[in-house]
C-alpha cells in the first residue's frame, strides 16, 4: 500500500506538469481547430534553451521561464502568421496537422545539428534532494515543477475568464462568425492564442529538462503523451486536459511500480482506447459531427 500511495503522489506531481503542456495544445485546438503536433518539439526546444541558460549563464531553470516564455510566444505568433494563417479551404485542418508535424521535424533537425543526439539534463543543485513527509519521499524538484504548473494554469484560467482578451477567445471558440460580427478581431485572437499555447511550452520545457534526460528525438515520446491527454480529456477542453493528465500520471506511476516501468507508458494508451470505446468524444469533449 505504501508503495502505491508513493506512486500516486509521484503521478499527481508528474500529471500536473503534463497538464500544463497539454493545456496549451488543447487551448489552441479550441480556438482555431489546429492540433499543434510541434508542441512536443517546442517543449524540447524550451528544455534546450533553459539548459543553455543554466549551463552558460547559471540561470536557475525555474527562473529561465521568464526569459524563454516571451521568446516562445514570439515564435508561436510567427509560426501562426507564416504557416497556419495562410491555410485555407476544406482540408485546412488536416493541412495544419501536417504542417506542424513538418515544423516538429525541422526543430528536431536544427536541435540535432547543434546539440547532436547526446542526452542532456539540466542539473541544478537541488535536483536530487527530497523531503520526507509521513514516511513518503517527495522530490523537491517535482514539487517546484508542480507548483509552477499550477501557478501557470491559474494564470491561464484568469486570462481566459477575467480579461477582455479571454472573453474574445471564448467568443471565438463558441461561434467565430458571431464573434466577428460583435467586433472581435478573430485573426488577431487566433494569433495571440497560438502564441500563448506555444508559450506554455516554455515552462513545460524548463521542468522537463530538470526531471528527465532529453535529446532532440525526445519529442516523439512527449507528443504521443500530450496527444493522448488532449484526446482523453476531450479536444478543446482545458479542464478535461488537466483531469486527463492527472489520471494518466497516476495510472502510469502505479503501473510502473505494480507491473513494470517498461509497460507504464503503454498503460495510458490502453486506458485511452477503453475510454474512447465508451466516449469517442473524450471525457469532456463535445461530440464531433462531420467536418
Amino acid at each position: 500500500m505504501h508503495i502505491v500511495v508513493q506512486a500516486c503522489i509521484l503521478g499527481v506531481l508528474t500529471g500536473g506538469v503534463y497538464a500544463l503542456m497539454a493545456s496549451g495544445l488543447t487551448l489552441v485546438f479550441g480556438v482555431m481547430h489546429v492540433i499543434n503536433v510541434a508542441q512536443g518539439a517546442l517543449v524540447i526546444l524550451s528544455a534546450y534553451l533553459s539548459y543553455v541558460l543554466f549551463k552558460d549563464l547559471h540561470v536557475d531553470p525555474f527562473l529561465s521561464v521568464l526569459i524563454v516564455a516571451p521568446f516562445m510566444f514570439a515564435l508561436g505568433t510567427t509560426v501562426q502568421l507564416v504557416f497556419i494563417r495562410s491555410l485555407r479551404g476544406e482540408s485546412a485542418e488536416e493541412l495544419s496537422l501536417l504542417i506542424t508535424w513538418a515544423l516538429a521535424l525541422g526543430i528536431e533537425g536544427i536541435l540535432g545539428a547543434i546539440f547532436q543526439t547526446t542526452y542532456r539534463a539540466t542539473n541544478p543543485g537541488y535536483a536530487n534532494s527530497s523531503w520526507t513527509v509521513f514516511g513518503y519521499q517527495i522530490s523537491v524538484v517535482r514539487v517546484y515543477a508542480f507548483a509552477l504548473s499550477v501557478a501557470i494554469l491559474v494564470l491561464l484560467y484568469l486570462l481566459l475568464a477575467k480579461t477582455r482578451f479571454g472573453r474574445s477567445v471564448r467568443a471565438t471558440v463558441q461561434n467565430p462568425s458571431s464573434a466577428r460580427l460583435l467586433g472581435v478581431d478573430a485573426d488577431r485572437v487566433r494569433t495571440v492564442a497560438f502564441g500563448v499555447g506555444v508559450a506554455t511550452a516554455s515552462a513545460g520545457g524548463a521542468v522537463y529538462g530538470v526531471l528527465y534526460p532529453f535529446n532532440p528525438g525526445s519529442h516523439y515520446d512527449l507528443i504521443s503523451r500530450l496527444l493522448s491527454i488532449v484526446v482523453l480529456g476531450g479536444l478543446g477542453s482545458v479542464g478535461g486536459a488537466v483531469v486527463a493528465a492527472l489520471l494518466l500520471g497516476v495510472v502510469e506511476a502505479v503501473v510502473a511500480v505494480e507491473i513494470s516501468p517498461v509497460w507504464s507508458s503503454f498503460s495510458y494508451f490502453v486506458l485511452l482506447i477503453a475510454i474512447l470505446l465508451v466516449r469517442p468524444q473524450g471525457l469532456f469533449g463535445i461530440r464531433e459531427r462531420t467536418l
Binding site: 493541412l95 508535424w101 521535424l105 528536431e108 493522448s228 479536444l235 469517442p280
Partner: protein
C-alpha cells in the same frame, strides 16, 4: 465497374514498361536501390490514398502496419527455411491478408471518432505498435532487432525486390482504379462529402470504410514485408517509423490525394531527393530540416497537389 479507356491503358503501359525496363538499362546498384525505395514509397502513398484519399479520414497510423508486415515476415522466416530465396515473396499475400484482418478491430475502434480525433488516434496507434515492438522481447527481440535470413542470389541482388515492390505498386494502382469506378467508390465519395447524409441515404458507411481500410492495410503490410526482407535487419525504430508515415502522406498530398496517379507521381518527385539528402546530410540530421522545408513548401504552394492542379489548368 471502371471502363478501360485506350488513353488510360496506354498511360499504364508506358509507365510500367519504363519501370520494368529501368533495372535492365540502369545497372549501378545504388541507382536500382533508389528505384526500390521510390517504388516502396509510391506503393505506400498509393495504399494510404486508397483509404484516406477516398474517405477523407486522415490516417497517420498506416506505418504501424508497415512495421507489422515487416515483423510478420521476419519472425516467420526465423523459423521457416526461405528455400531458394523467393519463398518469402510467395508468403506476401498471406501476410497482407492476415494483417488486414487483424487490423479490422483497430479500425472499428478508431472509426468511432471523426476528423482530427481520428488522425490523432491513428497516430497514437503508431506509437503503441512501436512500444510493443520494443517491449514484446520474446517475439520481436526488442531493441536488438530481428535478423531476416539472407537469400542466396547475389548478382543483381536488388532486382527481385525491385520487381516485388513494382508488383505491389501495380496491385495498389489496380485496386485504386477498380474501387474508384465501382459502387464502393461512389459510396466512399458520398461519405467523404457528407457522412450523415450518406448514412441517411442507406449507404452502409462503416462497411465501406472498413473495406477501404482493409485494402489499404493489406497492401501496406506487404510492402513492409518486402522492405524487411530487403534490409535483412529490422529494429522497432526503423520498422515503425513516424518519418516513413509522414513521407508517404506528403507524397500523396504533393501528387494529389484522391487521384489515381497522384501519390505515385509525388513519390517519383520526392524519394530521389530524399535519398540524396539522406546520404549527403544523414549524419548531421540536416536532412530533417531539408525534409521539413520541402514539406512546408509543398503544403503552402500546392495544397491541391500536382495532378488536380494540372487538370484545372
Amino acid at each position: 465497374m471502371s471502363r478501360l479507356r485506350p488513353l488510360g491503358l496506354g498511360r499504364a503501359a508506358a509507365v510500367f514498361g519504363a519501370a520494368i525496363a529501368f533495372p535492365f538499362l540502369v545497372t549501378p546498384d545504388w541507382l536500382v536501390n533508389i528505384g526500390v525505395f521510390t517504388l516502396m514509397y509510391a506503393g505506400l502513398a498509393t495504399a494510404w490514398n486508397l483509404f484516406s484519399g477516398f474517405t477523407g479520414y486522415i490516417s497517420l497510423g498506416q506505418a504501424a502496419f508497415f512495421g507489422i508486415g515487416a515483423y510478420a515476415l521476419a519472425i516467420t522466416f526465423e523459423h521457416v527455411s526461405i528455400g531458394g530465396g523467393y519463398r518469402p515473396f510467395y508468403s506476401l499475400p498471406l501476410i497482407g491478408l492476415a494483417v488486414a484482418l487483424a487490423s479490422l478491430p483497430v479500425a472499428w475502434v478508431a472509426l468511432r471518432t471523426r476528423a482530427m480525433t481520428f488522425a490523432i488516434v491513428t497516430l497514437m496507434f503508431l506509437f503503441i505498435v512501436q512500444q510493443l515492438a520494443f517491449n514484446l522481447r520474446s517475439v520481436t527481440h526488442g531493441s536488438q532487432g530481428v535478423a531476416v535470413p539472407q537469400p542466396s542470389f547475389t548478382s543483381n541482388f536488388d532486382r527481385p525486390y525491385y520487381f516485388a515492390m513494382l508488383g505491389l505498386l501495380a496491385l495498389g494502382l489496380l485496386a485504386t482504379w477498380y474501387v474508384r469506378g465501382s459502387k464502393l467508390g461512389l459510396e466512399l465519395l458520398a461519405l467523404r462529402e457528407d457522412e450523415e447524409k450518406a448514412r441517411g441515404l442507406g449507404i452502409r458507411v462503416t462497411r465501406a470504410k472498413l473495406i477501404a481500410w482493409g485494402l489499404s492495410v493489406g497492401l501496406t503490410a506487404m510492402i513492409g514485408a518486402v522492405w524487411g526482407y530487403y534490409l535483412f535487419f529490422i529494429y522497432p525504430e526503423s520498422a515503425v517509423d513516424p518519418l516513413l508515415m509522414i513521407g508517404a502522406v506528403l507524397m500523396a498530398f504533393l501528387g494529389g490525394k484522391g487521384t489515381l496517379w497522384g501519390p505515385m507521381i509525388g513519390a517519383l518527385v520526392l524519394v530521389p531527393a530524399q535519398q540524396w539528402a539522406l546520404t549527403d546530410f544523414g549524419a548531421t540530421r540536416l536532412y530533417l530540416i531539408a525534409y521539413s522545408l520541402v514539406f512546408v513548401v509543398v503544403l503552402l504552394l500546392l495544397p491541391q497537389g500536382i495532378v488536380p492542379s494540372l487538370r484545372r489548368s
